[in-house]
């Protein structure tokens, strides 16, 4: 296990979110999970029209309201107050998950405990003494969106890799993740396993490989 004292910090959580926002083009319909993914919306410039969806039946979520302008009927899936942009719409829960399950979202970004090199995702329970774990909409989002990206720290606080050959935690979905953004790198999931696309400033390929529990490939180009 790598020595956490020498782990390069790489990007902050906000910087990971900013990096992901760069890759979201205008016109996409996007669902953002709790944690780092939630921060992404703040990094999409308002002139780039991206439509954010929330499981509880909201399309077109805008930024958080000012504290004195909170509308108690308008929350996101994290149960935080939000606003609605012009062109937004409300649907009920079955229709909201029809949107999710029916492959209508261009992108979903979720946090994770682990991602396996075949795209398996584990993000809902550590499986330890936790039979009442809360799954929420994670399993629907993971199988339903056209693209599933993961945003997470490259290792646990203890330094254990989260990019693995096979997940040790109970799965959220099989073979679903397409790309992983971490504090250290951007990595695609390919039929040949993890492919490192880029590293954070000042982070070497070797440093990322050392903190990954399975082999990383580099682009052949």
């Amino acid at each position: 296990m790598p020595d956490t004292r020498t782990t390069p910090a790489g990007l902050s959580r906000s910087a990971i979110a900013r990096r992901i926002a760069e890759d979201i083009p205008e016109g996409w319909y996007v669902n953002l999970g709790i944690g780092i993914p939630t921060l992404i919306a703040d990094h999409v410039p308002p002139e780039r029209e991206v439509i954010f969806h929330s499981e509880n039946g909201v399309l077109g979520i805008g930024p958080a309201p000012a504290p004195d302008a909170v509308d108690p009927w308008l929350i996101n899936a994290g149960k935080e107050p939000v606003t609605l942009r012009p062109g937004g719409a409300f649907v009920h829960h079955a229709d909201s998950f029809a949107i999710i399950r029916g492959r209508h979202l261009d992108l979903c970004v979720l946090g994770a405990f682990e991602v396996a090199e075949n795209g398996d995702l584990a993000n809902w329970t550590t499986g330890r003494n936790d039979a009442a774990a809360a799954v929420g909409g994670a399993m629907d989002l993971a199988v339903g969106a056209k693209r599933l990206w993961v945003a997470m720290e490259h290792t646990t606080k203890e330094g254990a890799p989260r990019l693995v050959s096979r997940c040790s935690f109970p799965l959220t979905a099989l073979a679903s993740v397409l790309r992983v953004y971490t504090n250290l790198a951007v990595i695609d999931v390919t039929p040949e396993g993890f492919l490192l696309l880029e590293t954070a400033p000042g982070v070497s390929f070797e440093a990322v490989q050392q903190r990954t529990a399975t082999r990383l490939r580099r682009p052949t180009a």
Binding site: E55, H93, G136, G137, L171, A173
Partner: protein
């Protein structure tokens, strides 16, 4: 004259029996029929199965109903969240049964009940722990899980506007599970912020037509959140 409006909470709650399956609208606190849950606490039915997205927060509302030992079983997607203390206590003491259902599967199972569909194949949870002991089948090379309709004996619903036919609209994200649950119970009881004259609601904008509604109780906001 068709008139689904009821004048009192007692009338709204009449006939809810021990052992009922109760569908509770809402996502977190938003769209949750707080007044009706209080009414159910007072009404006294016990040995209930509650179907709701969450397992209650704090010590009031659904949490209170559970704390009183009136809930035998809860079916939800997100039992453990900040403040779900009563559920946690009961669950670790083995005093409440839990069925965890992915949120979209929960919504779709309830809709299926309302739409007369007995069961359906969903890709959600295929190959995971939540599909254990369930029938799985491949369609076009993809794995799906067979999930069954989840009907209620009673649904408790929060709406924004209602008329005497029971036609309903909702406010913003307070819509959530409410229209789906309204379809799926034999007895659908609504607390509405506003009662309006018949013909006032735009026929194009009615979200829940009155055919799904049994009773409507007027609960203005101040009273609901008291």
């Amino acid at each position: 004259m068709i008139d689904k409006r009821v004048a009192s909470m007692a009338e709204a709650m009449a006939g809810i029996r021990d052992g009922s399956v109760v569908l509770l609208g809402g996502f977190g606190d938003v769209g949750q029929p707080d007044a009706l849950i209080k009414g159910l606490i007072a009404q006294g039915a016990s040995n209930l199965t509650v179907v709701a997205n969450n397992a209650g927060r704090g010590r009031a509302g659904l949490a209170r109903l559970m704390e009183l030992g009136r809930v035998r079983r809860i079916v939800c997607s997100f039992p453990r969240s900040r403040g779900s203390v009563v559920f946690e206590e009961l669950y670790s003491a083995g005093r409440i049964e839990l069925e965890i259902v992915p949120q979209g599967t929960l919504a779709e199972r309830i809709r299926a009940a309302g739409a007369g569909i007995a069961a359906f194949f969903t890709p959600t949870a295929a190959g995971t722990r939540l599909a254990e002991n369930k029938e799985q089948r491949s369609f076009n090379g993809r794995r799906y899980v067979l999930e069954h309709a989840l009907p209620g004996d009673v649904a408790l619903i929060e709406a924004w506007r209602a008329d005497r036919f029971g036609n309903l609209t909702y406010r913003e994200s307070a819509r959530n599970f409410n229209p789906v649950m309204a379809m799926a119970a034999r007895l659908t009881i609504v607390q509405a912020q506003h009662l309006v004259e018949l013909g006032t609601l735009e026929p194009e904008a009615i979200v829940t037509p009155g055919i799904f509604v049994s009773r409507v109780l007027h609960v203005p906001y101040a009273q609901a959140k008291e």
